[in-house]
Amino acid sequence: MDPTLIAPFVKSVQNVFATMLQLPVEVEEPKIKEGKSTTYDVSAIIGMSGDCVGSVVLSFEEESALRIVALFTGTEAAVDSPDFADAVGELVNMISGGAKAMFEGRKASISTPSVVLGSSHVVSSQKDLPTIVLPCVTDCGRFAIEIAIQDQVESADAESQSTATTA
């Protein structure tokens, strides 16, 4: 995956949390995801299409999610309530929307978000596409951004170069 697609997510998550929650986010070193399950038990998922295709998952510890949602909405919501799903969905929407606007020379669209709850659930991504995990730390607890995106422009360039070399 093109590493230049990762930095926009770092900037965007810090911007969204600072602006909407007044909550600083420390983003730790990115790593490649091992195993199939999401990092934590609450996932807000958004699809990306256009020049960059794949998915972005905002994966929260349940306790962190509850605190962050309370700070974001100003009210406490049960983890299985529609209001909770709406709030975490809106966070992944703003983070992904902000990130894609920073992709240089790439036009991408985002889907409407979905939210999945439960321990050890799996969000399937495209075969052979590595998932980059950005561990995030806040005063409300930990969460992670899992990014599995393929740069279609870069892939097409690589394919045309390979065809030219073999021709």
Partner: protein
């Protein structure tokens, strides 16, 4: 002043409602997508619309284009995560009067609402 909020996220509608309340506006109607908004505009008769872009059933841009067929005057502010310049231009061409990128501070939203209303009143 009657204001229609069009956003599929109840969280965002609540945040916007809170900003509008602080500005002294209380006559607010909500719609969860473009189709819902189209079904409400005639009866409600808004003086200002705040419209999200990415929504299920009918997105904000399609709603603005449909709404502008009948009403070319009532101000519309797009409030969206779509931050690319090309998107802003697309929205303005469709008939949007002002644009707010999410995330936003309450101050920024207030400022955009006030400047939009002043500009439209002076036109």
């Amino acid at each position: 002043m009657k204001i229609l909020l069009v956003d599929d996220s109840k969280t965002m509608r609540n945040i916007q409602k809170s900003v509008l309340s602080q500005l002294g506006y209380s006559e607010i109607e909500e719609a969860c997508d473009g189709q819902d908004a189209l079904s409400k505009v005639k009866a409600f008769g808004p003086d200002l619309l705040l419209v999200d872009w990415n929504m299920p059933n009918m997105d904000g841009l399609s709603f603005v284009k449909a709404y502008r067929q009948d009403d070319k005057v009532t101000p519309i502010i797009m409030v969206t995560t779509e931050a690319e310049k090309s998107r802003v231009i697309e929205a303005i061409k469709a008939g949007v009067n002002n644009y707010v990128v999410k995330p936003f501070t309450p101050d920024l939203l207030s400022q955009r609402i006030q400047e939009t209303l002043e500009k439209c009143a002076a036109a």
